[in-house]
Every structure is written in C-alpha cells, then in structure tokens.
C-alpha cells in the first residue's frame, strides 16, 4: 500500500531553510531570556547555599526559611530520626 500523501508543512519541525537564519548577532529575546535565566539560577544557588527561602542545608528545621515543615522533614533532604 502506498504511503499517504504528505502535507507540505510536515517538514517544518525539523527543516532549517536557508532563509531562516539570515540575521547576525544576538537577538533581543535571547538577551532577555539570558538575564532572566541568570537571575533565576543565582536565586536558586543562593537559596540552596544559605538555606533561606526554603532551600539549603540550614533551613531543614521547624519554622526555618520562612515556612514551617514538620519536625524532621528537610527540604532537598531526608527525614531525620
């Protein structure tokens, strides 16, 4: 049995046409995305290291880090005996 006819746009997801990337330099959306990503990663690392905001080794106790976890429950950690 013959293959069904293909739609003309079925290659859109994987085809990189020659006219697609004619611009040079870094697009604005990449700069914005990069700044946001950098801020998010920095916040994550700071939270992980300092234990503030519910992350990190120092806030795994009751009422630490701005919210309360049950006794022994540690965020990004295991329940202590």
């Amino acid at each position: 049995m013959a293959d069904p006819p293909r739609y003309p746009d079925t290659r859109d997801d994987t085809d990189v046409g020659p006219d697609r990337e004619s611009t040079t330099g870094t697009p604005r959306w990449v700069k914005v995305f990069g700044i946001i990503a950098l801020v998010v990663v920095l916040l994550f690392v700071i939270a992980l290291l300092t234990g503030r905001g519910g992350h990190g080794p120092g806030r795994h106790t009751r009422s630490a880090g701005g919210h309360t976890l049950p006794s022994g429950v540690t965020e990004y950690g295991v329940r202590q005996p």
Partner: protein, 176 residues
Amino acid sequence: MTMTPRLRKFALTTHVISSVGWLGAVAGSLALAVAGLTSQDAQMVSAAYLAMELTGWFVVVPLALASLVTGLVQSLGTKWGLFRHYWVLAKLLINVFATIVLLLYMQTLGSLAGVAAETTLSSADLSGLRSPSPVLHAGAALLVLLVATVLAVYKPRGMTAYGRRKQHEQRMVSQP
C-alpha cells in the same frame, strides 16, 4: 548524524509526548499541592502528599528524563543541532535545570510523604505539611515548562556563533 525521515518523525513524536506529558503531570502535581496546602481535612492533606510522591517518582521523573533524552536525540539527529540555535540551547538549559531541581525536590516530597503516611498526625505535623513549598515548586516548574513549550512551537530566530560558523562551513562545501 542525520536521521531518516521516518526515524525523525518517531523521535519527534516521543519527544512531544514526553515533554507535554511532563507538563501535564506537573499541572496535576500543582493541583495536589494546592489541595495539600488549603484543605482542612487531614486525610485529604495526607493523601495529596502521598499521591504527589507517587506521581513524582513514577510519572514526573520518568517523563522528565525521557524528555531530556529524546530532546538530545532529536537535536543531534537533525540539522537543528544542539548548540546551533538559541531556542534549542534555551530548551536544553531549561530541561537540565528543571530536572536537577525536580530530582532534588523529590527528597523533600519523600520526607513530606513520610510524615503524611503516619497513622496519627499531630496538629503540628499537619500544619507543617501545609507548606507552600510544593505549590511554589510545582507552579514554577509549570511556568518554566510552558516557556519551553512556547520555544519549541515558535522556534524564534537566532543562531549561536557556533551555528553561524557551521552554516558558513556548509555553504562553503556546497558552493566551492
């Protein structure tokens, strides 16, 4: 290495299924996290955290890893490449970052589920279980995965320096 059209379609299909499935599973986890945070019923709170841990290990984590692997195969097996286009690179960074945070946070969910599994919960344990942390993590994950989905659909223009160099090399080869 470039895949055949049939293999390419298969790889794309598995990548879409795993990525969108991951998004849906996180949305479900967010609903459970909201239920765990807001419900006044102790059994509902316990059930929400137990369900979150189960779906986390058996649905969210496998789908996240599948999305990462199929994304790598899809990019390396097509002309898109992994480091040539900014949108592909951005999706890779989002996927790796989200997977790392997910795997770290599964330990926290395991601890919360451990408390929730106790037959008798003290009022302190119950109030402690009503943590905003799962809601914040699931909400942030949903937002990040939505961004990745938008990038995948719109494919915004922009090539990296490496991509431009590779494109130039290919043009030189095809037009000596």
